[in-house]
């Protein structure tokens, strides 16, 4: 009986906490939009310099048939490159840690590719790739690949030595050690790579499309941004921008959720401190 009272308090406290966590940022965003709106109205800035939130919204609705396909293209490139980077990064990391010599041989090449700014390589990729879409895919892949690779390598190598000893003691094969010990232990690092890689894939997809410049029917949001700029259609530019950040937020939320799903039952980063 007596114990149920503090428990109820704790759960209602938590609900209040969650409500506040949602309400506070929401109020913040609404407040900023209002300031933006009244700022534009009162200062009389022309819409081709700074459109009001209303103008952006009507551009979003009015140009939906133009912007939405572009969003689909950008989303596709981002997700495909992220998927390839996940498979490639994790797979290559597993390959790298198999032997010290493999690592010595390959890691420097990986680092050189990583530290070279991707925008600088993109003209080359644009020349060699069969289509612009493939070129964008390669650029975004390259950028997302390395954080996943380096995180995964670190994860595979930071296994508790005593656990490794234990596996040796029980005569575990290389394969068993990989499946039952190294890969699960590397999971938190992989998830960090996923979250970073997801954000970078989108950035790279946009930057590469800026570099590509030209576009046909299958152009993405970055091209629509440039195009709106040339045509001085600033409301549409804002609308495209809004879509990009919505895409970014969605990717962030999705990767965070996947990471939570995989780790919440055991890993420190996802545990509430209860001491």
């Amino acid at each position: 009986m007596t114990s149920s009272v503090p428990e109820m308090n704790a759960s209602s406290e938590r609900r209040k906490d969650i409500a506040l966590r949602i309400a506070v940022p929401l109020v913040m965003v609404v407040g900023l939009v209002l300031i933006w709106h009244f700022g534009v109205v009162m200062s009389g800035v022309p819409p081709y310099i700074l459109p009001s939130p209303g103008a952006v919204l009507s551009a979003l609705i009015g140009d939906w048939s133009l912007l939405f396909p572009a969003l689909v293209v950008t989303t596709k490139i981002t997700l495909m490159s992220l998927a390839l980077a996940l498979i490639g990064g994790a797979g290559f990391a597993i390959f790298l840690v198999q032997s010290r010599w493999i690592e010595i041989a390959f890691y420097p090449i990986a680092v050189i590719l990583q530290v070279t700014p991707i925008v600088a390589i993109s003209p080359l990729i644009l020349i060699y790739a069969p289509t612009t879409q493939v070129a964008l895919l390669i650029c975004a892949f390259l950028v997302a690949f390395f954080p996943i690779l380096s995180n995964m390598v670190q994860g595979l190598k930071s296994v508790d030595h005593n656990l490794l000893n234990l596996f040796d003691l029980y005569g575990a094969s290389r394969w068993q050690t990989l499946i039952y010990l190294k890969i699960p232990a590397a999971q938190p690092y992989f998830m960090t790579g996923l979250r970073i890689g997801g954000g970078l894939a989108l950035i790279a997809a946009v930057v590469a499309e800026f570099a590509a410049g030209s576009a046909g029917a299958s152009s993405g949001l970055a091209f629509r941004l440039l195009e709106s700029q040339f045509r001085m259609n600033i409301p549409r530019l804002f609308a495209a921008l809004l879509m990009l950040s919505a895409l970014g937020v969605t990717i962030f939320a999705a990767t965070s959720f996947i990471s939570w799903l995989a780790l919440h039952r055991w890993h420190e980063s996802n545990l509430k401190r209860e001491n």
């Binding site: 005593n162 656990l163 000893n165 040796d168 029980y170 005569g171 068993q176 232990a185 055991w266």
Partner: protein, 275 residues
């Protein structure tokens, strides 16, 4: 078990065959530390042997060498009465309990205890019975589904013991398993290990810093000397009374503690040997 039976156990043990023998083993680490020098030790089946000595004298090193973790610099480890596998270890006969619980945080208690069997290719279904048996033996039958983070330090240690026992090994190596625990938990786990030892006829090598623990548990005590590590004293500890709560307050126990204490002091001081 009464006093007579205890005597009988000791008597049969003296006759059992050697299980493992360290034969003039030396160990030099890559940094030049001479951790063990010319150490010889024969452990017979069914013994409960405590290994004592000052910090850094090579107890852990000796234990790990017996387990085949990190080879010897000279000398050899012999298993006179076991079939040896390709790694020079008796097939599935050894278990190790480290100073830390060394559990896989991503696995439940059940999954952790399952590990040694899983590595041998035992199916989950076939493993269920021995796992639950091992967990029940350490009083954790109800915690099979819990994750390590949900357990106290003592409970984690008991999971580690259950994992070591689940393969029904002939030799159990324990490296200061209870050093981090409070006195009450420690005494409880001492009794658990003692019960396991009595029930199963297993051989135990138990590294400890505690004179009291060694005098309570073991029927043979080996005291080591440091720099370089070697055996200083090796004597049986035969007591008439059974090892239980009553024994803790008996004259027998007090004398045993005194003897072990004296030997340890001798090993720690630079008094000449045989003094």
């Amino acid at each position: 078990m009464n006093a007579q039976a205890a005597d009988k156990t000791v008597a049969t043990m003296a006759q059992t065959r050697p299980l493992v023998a360290m034969d003039h083993v030396s160990k030099i680490f890559s940094n030049g530390t001479l951790a063990l020098q010319d150490m010889s030790l024969t452990v017979r089946g069914g013994e409960f042997l405590s290994l004592l000595g000052p910090s850094g004298c090579g107890k852990s090193t000796a234990l790990r060498i017996i387990a085949g973790l990190g080879g010897v610099s000279s000398g050899s480890i012999d298993w006179p009465s076991s079939r040896i596998n390709s790694k020079g270890l008796p097939e599935g006969d050894i278990s190790f309990v480290f100073q830390e619980p060394t559990l896989m945080p991503w696995q439940t208690v059940f999954g952790n205890v399952f590990l040694p069997l899983r590595l041998r290719g035992v199916s989950k279904k076939a493993a269920e019975e021995p796992i639950m048996e091992a967990l029940t033996a350490v009083g954790l039958g109800d915690f099979a589904k819990a994750y390590p983070r949900e357990l106290s330090g003592g409970m984690k240690m008991r999971v580690s013991i259950a994992r070591a026992m689940v393969t029904k090994p002939r030799l159990l190596l324990m490296d200061e398993p209870f050093a981090a625990l409070d006195e009450i938990t420690r005494q409880k786990l001492n009794d658990d290990v003692l019960n396991l030892w009595r029930r199963t006829g297993i051989t135990v090598i138990f590294v400890t810093h505690s004179v009291f623990e060694s005098a309570y548990l073991s029927n043979r005590i080996v005291v080591m000397k440091a720099r370089p590590g070697r055996v200083h004293a090796d004597f049986p500890l035969v007591t008439a009374s059974e090892r239980d709560a009553l024994y803790r307050s008996s004259e027998d126990y007090r004398q045993a503690c005194e003897k072990v204490s004296a030997m340890l002091l001798e090993a720690m001081g630079d008094a000449p040997e045989g003094h």
